[in-house]
């Protein structure tokens, strides 16, 4: 419909369907609109971008209860304007939307002036025509399952190499454009070699390819590249951005921790061409697979390598929640290209992801026994797996079975000693022990008599009182259980100065008398630790928690710890005796607590202690009473008689400590008078105190346990996922605040994307399986699009990270769907997908183009030419290293510290200890990635900070990049090495030609060669005439050039190499 004509008709008085006049600018735009509008292509982007903020999916922000993302709402009567509707299909004048968008009245105009959003004349015209045409709604393209599209028939069939080309050329034909011819062979090889391995081709490769005139010469090269181990490295590099992999924890403290085993696994998985669905499943939920292998568990580190906070004094829950949400955000972004994070504080403004959906997804990732505050002592944040070699596994297995043998032996000795025990009983030998006031094994006794903090047994062992900000507090004494006791104010603690620094393989007992005030519900009674959450509670403690006792023994709480709670409340305002006993087994069953000599029943919350409970320091903290740094104490309590034993006391011995009268009564009985329970207690007592053989094996068991424990201590830990036995409750968090619990939610996926099939488990594994379900509309599309971007510099959907309403539309939707379905049909074959893309004629095109085509399609959306993309940060450096011959091709392992200007880490409080030797020349993907201070050589070329998932890097062009390439020792050194090589050629011309070929993949043109020769000549003359001028070129970096060669010549050649290295021909992949 021609709108001008229509207006003319209207003006002469004929009644038409449209009885309204359009503003001139809108009318002009209206004329330019295509015949048919597509809702998804033309209309929804406008509605989404300009209207959804107030009339979209966010229920809390919906104005006038109007939703323009839903047809039924748009067509309904407006709540504030009875009789009116926002949109009446086909009836412009009756549609309130029309009147609102063209109004000049700020009170009426939509979007409101306050929103700072305005509709352009074109956008108004689109909405107007859409209403006129019937205001049709369609579902969002990305949420419709992709169907395998027919490969379009095209006229230029000769050009076609595979189906990709049909889709591309069909579009070109629509635009009356021709594809470009194939790129020059050298450049094509360079392009594909970088794209598949991240490295340049060698001169030999180039020559081989140039000389190979067979039909499948290119394919042979592609196959070779796909098989090379560097392929896995290249693929892993992108995955590191996506998975936000770094070598440090991030946040302010940002210390190093080694998670490279996971990176090694990613490289391996790509090289072995692991199917992508498995690849995702393992990473999201490998631990939940049946009998998971070590690798399957290792893979789940994907969910743990997010930034973690070590800053002392944070509220741990705040950051624990942050980590959970990071996993959701990353999964949403990485696999579905959905900005789900927008639904953290409110319903998503643009996409049908409600806040509830968001927290339902978070429930999948919330069942991890982790700590928001990670330990200050650099312990790997829990949960972790011991990342053992096979050899270590064998050793550990042996040591474990040795310990088990000793434990079994003790059980059998208990039986074989039965007879001796009976003799001992019947001879009433036990009566001999009646006079001993204390059990054996007492190693310290602080009785606080005479207003002293000394150990009664060893008076030179002096305790002290401390508190935050003071290491010599004056103790206050009051009435104790017997004599004097120590008064506690809740902030100052008694420090035994090193007593009781036990290890997890040692048995011990610690007890005291304490009177706790009635109103106190929480507070630490005694502990052996340093701070509280700051060190993730390493050590052990007995604490009052919600009136019950918490018994804890930890390497790194809560994941690597034993945590128990007594079932009963603890009496207050009276003297009680509390005794903790432990048998060195590292098991909850071996850790007991007694109240007044009676063992308390406990609920075991965690029973997973697998590394030691001490710090291994010279000034190892010992037992402390009553308070702790950064933890709650027991203000108002009085304590007395701290006793420490170096063995696990038996029940009878505990009675001996707690209630000597009772002990004396038992020990004085005739053996016939002994109750059954008393005999049982006596048996344990006998074995521990009177059976030499039992004691011998007990000691042996302890040694075996210690050997095992020591062997575990040095084993590398990696962070992995481990499901808590009992699901943690998950809540919707109001306004996204960690402590503002809304309704409880259960694990679920957003129904608008794709309803989770009933048969999938409601856990991470189910979530992973949902992602790779053949009916999932997003995962395959998002994946092929991301890979497409790697080759063409731009995705089929440009917004690789956003397939939602605010994302861009696919430029070739049929191709995207075809690739997605083909990818799934292939069994998610990643290598096959890469091969398909690089084998296409589309990819192989020359990137040279005419000015006309450049004018027409500056961004190369239509792909009538090949891609031209600046090398990534890693490629730029790796290219310099490889072409100079410096590159160390070792794959995997810990990250390294290549050249970096001194002092950069100072701002973060650390020193950068630069590596030497061949570690300086590892591929850039192994350069240490410190989140708070990125390596400048890489960061300057747009390598991301990796604090969050990144699927599309920026591509900038800045003066700082020029400075890096000109002056960074990495590049100056590489130039020097190349300069030396040139000097060894018979002719400089040959040397320069070879260098140019290595760096750029092609021969220099005559013109280029002339330029470079001239430069060489001038610089050489300059260096010759001004001694010392070449110094910098010869001394940058560790490499020492051959002293027999003319140093000035090397330097002049180095300048030439540097010029090539800085040129577009090197920096850009064309």
């Amino acid at each position: 419909m021609n709108f001008n004509a229509l207006i003319a008709v209207f003006l002469i008085g004929t009644i038409t369907s449209c009885s309204v006049e359009l503003p001139e600018d809108v009318a002009l735009e209206y004329d330019k609109l295509p015949q048919e509008l597509d809702f998804n292509v033309h209309v929804k982007p406008i509605l989404s971008d300009k209207c959804f903020l107030c009339h979209g999916p966010d229920k809390a922000k919906q104005q006038a209860e109007l939703r323009l993302d839903l047809a039924e709402s748009a067509y309904s009567e407006l709540i504030n304007s009875p009789g009116k509707k926002a949109v009446v299909p086909g009836k412009l004048a009756k549609s309130e939307m029309f009147h609102r968008i063209i109004s000049h009245d700020p009170e009426v105009l939509m979007p409101t002036p306050k929103s700072n959003l305005t509709l352009s004349a074109h956008e108004k015209a689109v909405l107007i025509k859409w209403i006129e045409d019937g205001a049709e709604y369609k579902p969002h393209w990305a949420f419709i399952k992709p169907e395998k599209r027919d490969v379009p028939a095209v006229s230029n069939a000769d050009w076609i190499k595979n189906p990709i080309d049909n889709f591309i050329i069909k579009r070109l034909e629509q635009e009356n454009l021709q594809p470009s011819s194939q790129a020059e062979k050298e450049l094509l090889l360079r392009r594909v070699t970088f794209d598949l391995t991240g490295l340049p081709p060698t001169v030999e490769n180039i020559k081989e390819f140039l000389n190979d005139e067979s039909d499948n010469a290119y394919e042979k090269q592609v196959d070779k590249l796909l098989k090379s181990p560097q392929y896995g490295e290249k693929m892993a590099m992108d995955w590191m951005d996506l998975s936000r992999f770094a070598d440090t924890h991030g946040y302010t403290v940002d210390r190093y921790r080694d998670m490279s085993p996971w990176r090694d696994w990613v490289i391996k998985a790509f090289n072995e061409n692991m199917p992508y669905d498995k690849f995702i499943e393992w990473q999201l939920a490998g631990d939940l697979l049946p009998n998971p292998s070590k690798e399957q568990i290792l893979a789940t580190a994907f969910n743990r390598i997010h930034p973690q906070n070590m800053e002392g004094g944070i509220v741990p829950e705040e950051f624990r929640v942050e980590y959970v949400l990071d996993r959701v955000n990353t999964a949403g972004q990485a696999f579905m290209a959905l900005t789900v994070a927008c639904a953290k504080c409110h319903d998503h403004k643009y996409d049908p992801i409600s806040q509830k959906n968001y927290y339902e997804m978070s429930a999948f990732f919330n069942n991890v026994e982790e700590s928001g505050q990670i330990s200050w002592d650099n312990a790997m944040p829990v949960p972790t797996m011991l990342y053992t070699t096979e050899e270590q596994d064998e050793v550990l297995e042996f040591l474990k079975s040795t310990a088990q043998t000793k434990a079994d032996k003790l059980v059998s000795i208990r039986v074989s000693e039965k007879e001796n025990f009976q003799d001992w009983i019947s001879n009433e030998k036990y009566k001999e022990s009646v006079k001993s006031k204390y059990p054996k094994g007492l190693i310290a006794h602080f009785d606080f008599e005479n207003s002293q903090l000394k150990d009664r047994l060893n008076p030179s062992q002096k305790g002290g009182m401390k508190r935050v900000g003071s290491s010599s507090e004056n103790p206050e004494f009051g009435v104790g259980k017997t004599g004097q006791g120590l008064l506690l104010d809740g902030d100052a603690w008694f420090d035994s100065h090193g007593v009781g620094a036990f290890r997890k393989s040692e048995s011990f007992s610690v007890g005291l008398n304490v009177k706790i005030p009635e109103n106190l519900e929480n507070g630490v009674i005694f502990h052996k630790s340093e701070g509280a959450a700051l060190y993730c509670f390493r050590g052990f403690h007995l604490a009052l928690e919600n009136n019950k006792l918490q018994v804890l023994m930890a390497h790194t709480a809560p994941g690597n710890a034993i945590i128990e709670y007594t079932k009963q409340d603890i009496p207050r305002d009276q003297w009680i005796n509390l005794m903790l006993t432990y048998n060195g087994s590292s098991k909850a069953s071996g850790l007991k607590v007694y109240l007044n000599g009676v063992e308390l029943e406990t609920d075991v919350k965690n029973d997973n202690l697998y590394k030691d409970i001490h710090f291994g320091r010279k000034d190892e903290p010992g037992i402390q009473i009553g308070a702790r740094m950064r933890g709650k104490g027991i203000g108002g309590a009085t304590v007395d008689d701290l006793m420490v034993f170096d063995q696990e006391l038996t029940p009878l011995e505990i009675i001996q400590v707690v209630d000597y009268e009772k002990f004396r009564d038992i020990m004085s009985k005739r053996h016939s008078e002994l109750a059954e329970v008393e005999s049982a207690m006596l048996e344990s007592y006998f074995l521990l105190n009177h059976s030499k053989v039992y004691k011998k094996y007990l000691d042996e068991l302890e040694i075996a346990r210690m050997t095992f424990s020591d062997s575990v201590e040095s084993i590398q830990e990696v962070m992995v996922m481990e499901e808590m036995p009992e699901r943690r409750k998950t809540y919707l968090l109001e306004r996204g605040l960690y402590d503002a619990h809304g309704e409880e939610v259960l694990p679920n996926t957003p129904e608008s994307v794709f309803q989770m099939p009933e048969d999938l488990p409601r856990n991470r594994l189910g979530f992973a399986k949902w992602l790779v379900h053949p009916d999932h509309p997003l995962t395959a599309r998002v994946t092929v699009n991301r890979y497409w971007q790697n080759y063409f510099g731009r995705g089929i959907v440009r917004t690789t990270e956003d397939f939602g309403n605010q994302g861009e539309l696919p430029t070739h939707p049929e191709l995207l769907d075809w690739l997605a379905v083909d990818f799934m049909d292939s069994g998610w074959d990643v290598k096959a997908l890469q091969k398909l893309i690089v084998m296409s004629a589309t990819y192989r095109q020359s990137s040279k183009t005419s000015n006309e085509l450049r004018e027409l399609d500056g961004e190369n959306i239509l792909l009538a030419r090949g891609p031209a993309v600046r090398l990534t940060a890693e490629m730029i450096r790796d290219n310099a290293l490889m072409t100079s011959g410096l590159l160390n091709t070792k794959i995997g392992g810990e990250s390294v510290k290549p050249y970096q200007p001194t002092g950069l880490w100072k701002v973060n409080g650390y020193n950068y200890d630069q590596d030497t030797g061949d570690k300086l020349y590892r591929r850039s993907m192994y350069t240490i990635w410190k989140r708070s201070v990125p390596h400048p050589t890489l960061a300057t070329f747009d390598a991301p900070g990796r604090s969050e998932c990144t699927v599309r890097r920026q591509k900038t062009n800045t003066p700082l990049q020029a400075l890096v390439l000109l002056n960074d020792p990495t590049y100056v050194e590489a130039s020097k090495v190349m300069g030396e090589k040139i000097a060894k050629f018979d002719s400089i011309q040959e040397g320069i030609t070879e260098t140019f070929m290595k760096l750029t993949g092609r021969k220099p043109s005559d013109k280029e060669l002339k330029i470079l020769l001239e430069l060489q000549e001038k610089q050489y003359a300059e260096f010759k005439h001004h001694k010392g001028k070449a110094t910098g070129w010869l001394t940058s970096g560790e490499y020492e050039p051959d002293g027999k060669l003319d140093a000035d010549l090397i330097a002049a050649n180095a300048v030439v190499a540097s010029a090539i290295m800085n040129s577009d021909a090197t920096i850009t992949k064309r």
Binding site: R467, V468, G469, S470, R630, G633, I1011, T1035, A1059, S1063
Partner: protein
């Protein structure tokens, strides 16, 4: 390409001399197209350069339509006092605390809000008055403690905000919040927003420069604080470091001189031009332009950071430390030089204000290191006529608690983080001099009048640079982002 405030510097020594002889700023405003640009144009053929799509030196000119209204502040220097300086020992005078000293903080004051994990579990929360004395100064009769004698001298130029508050209680989220408007990593910093929105007034220097005091110790910093977030990389802050390589990789290989580099770059340019002839890709020309900019920076940066021509009385004003490059005082002086060259945003960081324990000695030493130079910067800008359109900001990420963290003794105590109120000051362009805004209760615990949130601070800062904080927007991942997110009100009452 139109440079309103083009102050491109000449590479020629003679011209530099002339520039120095006449009033530099006048000279620069009068040359509508700077010499550097002329040089660049002649190198490339201006037509060729300007015909390429987009701006060859992208991001230099800001976005169209900005500023939204008249700029009061053409430049900003932000003296960030990292760690959270105590308001109680500096500017927020609380005489009633002398009587309450040692008593437990009443629950009615604390109102149950969260504390950090460092002191939340304390049993006692003894209120602690300042060990340092306060006096009133100037015509404005502003209270300043004895720790800040130099700042005390300039109170009539300062606009104090006593009622700052934030939600963040720990360093990382609080600093990140102050610098980027959001507590989690990933958003652009203030300087990046300004560079993106307003571009640069000096094509030879970055528009956003960062200076960090050397060896200050204290809580760590991290470069994402001056990161560009999702804005294009060229808007990230460029750290100028003390020492011979003020910008990373600025120096040529040893002994390789400017003229040598020039020669090499001329040939490099020829190589790139040959490539351009084959491919016609405008990115190639853009890269040539970046190399020229890099080359200019090799001259302009050492010149900008060269302190050798500063007279003794200037060093005396900033204090002896200012002769030692990299100190806070030297950085303040350097900041003045950069501002003179119309660098839009100079961000200083000085760490070490995190006095959980031994606050009296800790804060004294911090004040000794910073007070004189902060005040000198304001004075110096004023005497050069720059204070009119330069905004100076002083402040940290939060304040400190009225109660002592750890032991309170006669001469020692500590204070924990306190986000509910703290003091900042601003001076210069567009803010009321000799003015105090906002009020806290007798405990400096809660705000009783005119609260100013971090978002409000950002809104006001942008307003002073002529930017409507609701209109400086960047679309990223489908969402429109602002420095102030969806919050913030301009604090109109402090505007002159």
């Amino acid at each position: 390409m139109c440079h309103h405030h083009d102050i491109l510097r000449s590479n020629s020594k003679d011209l530099q001399k002339i520039e120095k002889q006449i009033d530099r700023r006048e000279f620069l405003t009068k040359t509508s197209l700077g010499l550097g640009a002329m040089a660049l144009g002649s190198l490339l053929g201006t037509e060729k350069l300007f015909a390429s799509s987009g701006n060859p030196v992208s991001g230099m000119n800001g976005i169209p339509g900005l500023p939204h209204f008249a700029q009061r502040a053409k430049r900003i220097v932000y003296l960030f006092q990292s760690g959270g300086p105590s308001q109680l020992e500096t500017f927020d005078y609380k005489p009633k605390l002398y009587d309450l000293h040692g008593q437990d903080l009443p629950a009615s004051v604390r109102q149950g809000q969260r504390l950090t994990g460092m002191s939340a579990d304390q049993t006692a929360f003894p209120m602690t008055s300042s060990i340092y004395k306060f006096r009133q100064y100037g015509e404005s009769r502003a209270w300043v403690s004895e720790l800040m004698p130099h700042t005390a001298e300039i109170v009539d130029d300062l606009c104090f905000i006593k009622s700052m508050h934030t939600e963040q209680i720990n360093h990382d989220p609080a600093i990140t919040f102050f610098q980027t408007g959001h507590q989690l990593p990933g958003r652009p910093s203030i300087g990046s927003w300004l560079s993106y929105g307003l571009g640069s007034d000096n094509q030879n220097l970055p528009s956003f420069i960062v200076l960090v005091s050397k060896n200050a110790g204290g809580q760590p910093l991290y470069s994402r604080l001056w990161g560009n977030g999702f804005l294009p990389t060229e808007h990230q802050g460029v750290q100028f470091r003390s020492g011979k390589d003020p910008v990373l990789y600025l120096n040529n290989p040893e002994n390789y001189e400017g003229a040598d580099r020039r020669q090499m770059l001329d040939y490099l340019k020829k190589l790139n031009e040959a490539q351009f002839d084959s491919y016609g890709d405008p990115e190639i020309n853009a890269r040539i332009a970046q190399y020229e900019m890099a080359y200019r920076m090799q001259t302009s940066v050492p010149e900008a950071t060269d302190m050798s021509d500063e007279p003794d009385y200037v060093y005396d004003m900033y204090g002896e430390d200012s002769r030692d490059p990299g100190t806070y005082a030297a950085n303040c002086l350097l900041a003045r030089k950069l501002l003179e060259k119309d660098v839009k945003f100079v961000q200083l960081y000085h760490q070490g204000w995190d006095q959980h324990g031994s606050l009296p000695s800790g804060i004294k030493s911090q004040c000794n290191k910073t007070d004189r130079a902060s005040a000198a910067l304001v004075k110096d800008l004023k005497q050069r006529g720059l204070l009119e359109d330069t905004l100076v900001i002083w402040g940290g990420e939060f304040g400190r608690t009225v109660y002592s963290q750890g032991k309170l003794t006669a001469d020692n105590y500590g204070r924990d983080h306190h986000p509910r109120c703290f003091t900042m000051w601003m001076a210069g362009a567009g803010v009321k001099p000799g003015f105090t805004y906002g009020e806290t209760d007798d405990f400096s615990y809660n705000i009783v009048k005119d609260p100013v949130h971090v978002h409000d601070f950002h809104a006001t800062l942008l307003h002073l640079t002529g930017v409507d904080h609701e209109k400086l927007i960047f679309k990223h991942q489908g969402r429109r982002y602002r420095l102030t997110d969806v919050h913030g009100h301009v604090v109109k009452d402090i505007l002159a």
